[in-house]
Symmetry: C2
Subunit: 398 residues, 2 copies
């Protein structure tokens, strides 16, 4: 019989997906260029030419039996070593090959990290607003996600709430900076304070608390913003990365998990992740994608469009009168809706063919997310529409 627990999950359809499907359907009626679809976080810029060339060269020149042969379940050794070397050089944390586990994007990395450092019943704290899939990554392991309420002043951490929620059952804390959906980058002061608290609580409780850092947007940081490397602040830390956004390869499912060499059991965490993979039947990312990625490890796509779009939207939203914190990175912006019910707000926006995602599911009711990984030309055309919407529906004057 079909497992009822999974069957029940079918009932809760993602609002992002619902709105995205609506946008696609609406696009078929009026032309997709006329739908201002801010729903999905799908990169809009191509991967680098060097990545494409690497794939082609590997397939043209190398022995197919070697290229397509089984990768070790922790990832191809030379690829892991390339990742370790790049991270050490860039961020000063002395990773070695043994600390790197190749994953199916940051999703795979976070899910493995949580399974590795928790047992069923443990609590994992994450901070609102948050990437809703964390609920799945955490709760399907048997651990329990507890959400720390948002600090809506600047979307740094709400430390008061955080400290009140810490208790002996907390096995891990999950952070995401630059943040989806707020676009905010945690400051060095935030990370320092977080690390200090965790160190004190480890001491007090007499057990490890792991800091799992989900950082697929690490390379999308805007001018003048300092984006400190999370694992530099705390020993018991695991970095979860994806090339989905930086190299625009979301469909290739390529990322990694990097264990801080100073973490407890640092030398076996990657190996344990390999054991976890056996149970879910997923052993590693595509071998050819691993090999091609390693050739362009320090490259990114041309990510400048995201900053251009952010500035256009931030200026327009503040001019219209939205309450909004300026994003430091990502391709998201997270304004407060013009009425308390962000779902109602979003439904009204739909009438203007503005697709805005209400943030109740992100743990931050009353706000909405715009994913501006779309053409700048469309962002520009959307601004008069946003203005019209705010004027007509909410009587905004500006």
């Amino acid at each position: 019989m079909i497992n009822e627990a999974y069957k029940k999950m079918l009932e809760g359809k993602s609002i992002i997906r619902v709105l995205s499907e609506y946008a696609t359907a609406r696009g078929k009626e009026i032309g997709y260029e006329n739908v201002f679809d801010y729903s999905l976080g799908n990169p809009s810029v191509p991967c680098t030419k060097n990545y494409t060339d690497a794939v082609i060269r590997i397939h043209q020149e190398q022995d197919p039996v070697a290229v397509h042969g089984y990768s070790p379940s922790l990832g191809i050794e030379s690829v892991r070593s390339t990742v370790a070397e790049s991270l050490s050089r860039r961020f000063g944390v002395p990773y070695k090959t043994e600390h790197i586990f190749m994953t199916s994007g940051a999703a795979g990395a976070v899910a493995h990290a949580v399974r590795c450092v928790t047992k069923p019943g443990d609590e994992v704290l994450a901070f609102a607003p948050f990437f809703t899939e964390y609920t799945q990554y955490i709760n399907q392991t048997g651990a329990v996600l507890k959400l720390v309420p948002a600090n809506t002043v600047d979307f740094q951490i709400n430390f008061e709430a955080f400290e009140s929620m810490l208790n002996e059952n907390v096995a891990a804390v999950l952070v995401n900076t630059p943040n989806n959906p707020s676009g905010v980058v945690y400051s060095a002061a935030t990370l320092q304070r977080l690390a200090d608290i965790l160190r004190a609580k480890q001491e007090e409780y007499g057990h490890d608390i792991f800091l799992i850092s989900d950082e697929p947007y690490r390379e999308i940081v805007f001018a003048g913003v300092d984006a400190p490397y999370v694992s530099g602040f705390y020993d018991n830390s695991i970095s979860c990365y994806s090339f989905s956004k930086s190299l625009s390869l979301p469909g290739e499912r390529i990322g990694y998990l990097a264990v801080n060499p100073k973490a407890t059991d640092a030398d076996i965490i990657a190996v344990i992740c390999g054991q976890i993979s056996r149970g879910i039947g997923h052993n590693c990312p595509s071998s050819s994608v691993q090999l091609a990625m390693a050739e362009v490890i320090d490259e990114t796509s041309d990510l400048s469009v995201y900053e251009t779009n952010m500035n256009l939207l931030y200026d327009a939203l503040t001019r219209i009168g939205f309450e909004v914190v300026k994003p430091g990175g990502t391709f998201y912006i997270f304004p407060k809706a013009l009425e308390a019910d962000a779902n109602a707000f979003s439904m009204k926006a739909k009438k203007y063919d503005l697709i805005l995602v209400p943030a109740d599911n992100f743990g931050c009711p009353g706000y909405f997310r715009m994913a501006y990984c779309i053409d700048t030309e469309k962002v520009k055309r959307s601004i008069p529409v946003l203005e019209k919407f705010a004027r007509e529906e909410y009587g905004m004057k500006f």
Copy 2:
């Protein structure tokens, strides 16, 4: 703290991996060409030129944002539809797109299928000799693997043992034909009898029993052997496939799960698998690999070398005096060792640089597996060594 359950798994190192690592190390001493390494089931023939050309063409000609964009979590729709059409045409089961879920090889397919149709505590029956990773795929879901003892006469199903082990807690039965490690293909009579028993037991227990068919070797079938399609015999069936062996793409992690359209809840099983994927953080195989595979869906690599090798080894082994069932497919052969303790037998063989895997872990003590996915030239050179070993260590006369 590190999850102790996973930590414990590190203790039980796979004998296949231990022997394979030994073979590699020994190869560095005496030249790998002098090590008769029958340990690993890694395909020895290249993928087809058409596959390579498809990858190159897709990367040269198509829009990278589309090629590398997020695949829906069930797989790219056009690819799923291509799979459904190919299976329907070839095997007469009327699959539609909605019945196909793209996976990370057959491993991902089996692990998802088990999670989908069992709940913690349920029993899953599999048949010895068996692919040892089933233990992980099943037990990590919370269900419990129960192993039906082998029928060592012909390595079809031991029905007497099977029927005695069926009980109300059995939620699924897992078969693997052509079989790793025996090389045997289940006959139509075997599958018919299996299906009849399951139908009767479903009736008796008043609940579904799913038949999960792991078939990565489906296309490696030797002359004169009939390899019936498992899902053709039983409605509540799920086919688990991989292109690892047929297209020699094990590192690409590409396969699928196909739900029999007549199964209970056939229209939602693939969707449920998508939900399961969310929890393990693995959403689908590489998008570009999906697209390239779909262009060569009905092709296989030149698999003839496996039959050539099988015939050479089968003739040699029977001539020497081994008790061995002739394989009908795969690239494995599964003789009885020349002493009761197959581990001791295997250790003695190592002295001759013959790497033979003892089958205790496959649920069939006293037997050993040879994976003959190696060059025919090496198989030929190994035969006098096998003869010498059998003569010197066991006094075999032939």
